[in-house]
Symmetry: C2
Subunit: 254 residues, 2 copies
C-alpha cells in the first residue's frame, strides 16, 4: 500500500529528494513480511492511528481475510507482527484485539519516548542536512494545512510523521523505527485516555521545535521536545478506566 493517498503531495520544489524520504517513511521496512502482508499490516496500523479502529476492537481472522481479499494464514502472520509491535493483543483461542494499554503501560511508553526523543534532540548523531530540513518544513506545512482544514485524521498522521522524520534526520533508521513504534502506541494511548477538552496535540509546538533545530540549538530543542511530550502526557486522564469497547465495524478498506 504505497498508494497512501495523502502521502504523495509534498509541497516543495525539490520533488525528487522529498519523494525519496517519503517512500522511506511508509516503508521503514516490515522485515519478514512479504509485500502483501506488509500492506495489510499498514492498513491496520493506519486504521488504528486514525482511530477508525478503537482499542479493544475485535479482529476476526476470517473477516479480515475477506476484507483484504487474502487468506486466513496470511492475516494470521500480520496479526502476529502487530502483536509484536504491541498494538494488537492475541488471546489464545480467543482471538486478536486492538490493544488497550493500561495506565502503567501508557506512562512507560510516554516516558520512553521522552527519554529517547529528547536524547535525539540533544545529541544528534548525524549532521542536519538541507534535504532533511526541507522535508521537515514540508511536513509542518502539511500539519498546518490539516489544522486549517480541521482534518483531524491528517493532523494525527502528519504529527506522527514529524516525529519520525526528526528521528530520521538527527538519529538514524534504527532510532526512527523505534520512534515510529512508540508513536503508534502513543496514538492508541491518546485514543483511550485523551481528555475531552484536549487541544488536539498541536499548538505550533512542532514549528517552534523545528525552528530551534534549524538553528542547531540542541539543548533548547531538547527542552522543547521534553515539554511537548510532557504536555501530551498531562492531557491524559487515567482516572476513567474507560475501555471504549468499540464494535467490530470495520471501515478498513478504502
Amino acid at each position: 500500500m504505497q498508494t497512501n493517498a495523502g502521502v504523495k503531495r509534498v509541497p516543495s520544489v525539490h520533488t525528487g529528494g522529498s519523494m525519496n524520504v517519503m517512500l522511506a517513511a511508509g516503508a521503514l521496512r516490515d522485515d519478514g513480511l512479504i509485500q502483501e502482508e506488509s500492506a495489510i499490516a499498514q492498513a491496520l496500523r493506519d486504521a488504528i492511528l486514525e482511530r477508525r479502529l478503537g482499542p479493544g476492537s475485535r479482529l476476526p481472522e476470517e473477516q479480515l481475510a475477506e476484507i483484504f481479499a487474502s487468506s486466513r494464514g496470511r492475516i494470521r502472520r500480520v496479526l502476529l507482527a502487530l502483536a509484536r509491535e504491541h498494538i494488537v493483543v492475541i488471546q489464545p483461542s480467543r482471538g486478536a484485539f486492538v490493544a488497550s494499554p493500561d495506565a502503567a503501560e501508557a506512562r512507560a511508553v510516554l516516558a520512553a519516548r521522552r527519554m529517547i526523543e529528547v536524547a535525539v534532540m540533544e545529541r544528534p548523531c548525524q549532521p542536519l542536512t538541507e534535504d532533511a530540513i526541507a522535508v521537515l518544513r514540508a511536513v509542518t506545512e502539511e500539519e498546518r494545512r490539516a489544522h486549517a482544514a480541521h482534518d483531524s485524521v491528517a493532523m494525527i498522521r502528519w504529527s506522527g510523521r514529524f516525529h519520525l522524520e526528526l528521528a530520521l534526520a538527527l538519529g538514524n533508521a534504527v532510532i526512527a523505527g523505534i520512534v515510529s513504534e512508540l508513536s503508534l502506541r502513543t496514538s492508541l494511548i491518546i485514543a483511550i485516555y485523551e481528555r475531552q477538552n484536549a487541544m488536539c496535540c498541536l499548538k505550533a509546538d512542532h514549528d517552534l521545535l523545528l525552528g530551534t533545530v534549524c538553528e542547531q540549538a540542541w539543548a533548547e530543542a531538547g527542552r522543547l521536545m521534553s515539554r511537548h511530550l510532557l504536555e501530551i502526557e498531562q492531557n491524559l486522564d487515567f482516572s476513567s478506566p474507560a475501555p471504549p469497547a468499540s464494535s467490530l465495524s470495520l471501515i478498513l478498506k478504502r
Copy 2:
C-alpha cells in the same frame, strides 16, 4: 505493566539467586507467541547470543521443527518473530538465516544504543531502589565469576544482562525491551566484526558504572556508559567484510 512483578529477585545466594535472575531475563514478554513458541524463540536467541549460531547460518524449518519436537507451522511463527527483531532474515522462497548486518546497520545499532542507554543514565525516570542495586551487584558478581572461570558464554550473557537490568532499574519495561533487542543485535554484530585481539568486552567497565550509579552521579554515569559503548564500537573492524558463513550444525537443544 507488571511484567516482572511476579519475579522476586534475591541476589545473594549462589545458585538460587542466579536462577531467579535468569528467569526474569527471558520473560520480558514475548507478545503474541504462546509459551512453547516463546521457548523456542529464546533458545534460538540464546544460540545466537552465545555464537553457537553464527551470522548467515541457515535455519531450515523442518530441521528446527524436529530439533524442538514441534511443527513446521510453529517454527514458522517463531522465525517471523525473530525476523521482526532483526536477528533473522527471511528470504522469500529461500528460507530463514541468521542475520548478518552490514557495517552501516552495525553503526546505526550502536549509535542508537549509545543514545538511548546514555539517556537512561543521565536522566533516570525511576528512583533507584535497593532491590535494583542488589540485582545489579549480583549480576556484576556473576560477570566477575564468569570472567574468572574464562567462561565466555556466561560472560556474554551476564554482560548483556547488566545492560538490561540497568535499563529496567533506571528506565522502565518499555525501554528495557528496546535495550534488550539492541543488545542482542549488538552481540550479532560483535560476532561478525570483532577484532581478533578484542578484549572480550569487559574490563571492569560495568563495576565502575555501577559505582557511579549507586552514588547517583548521573552525569558521570552517562559519560562512562558512552565511553563503554564507544569502546565496543572501536573494537570492531569493518574492513573485512568477512561473512563467517557457518555451517548448519545445530547444537541448539540442550
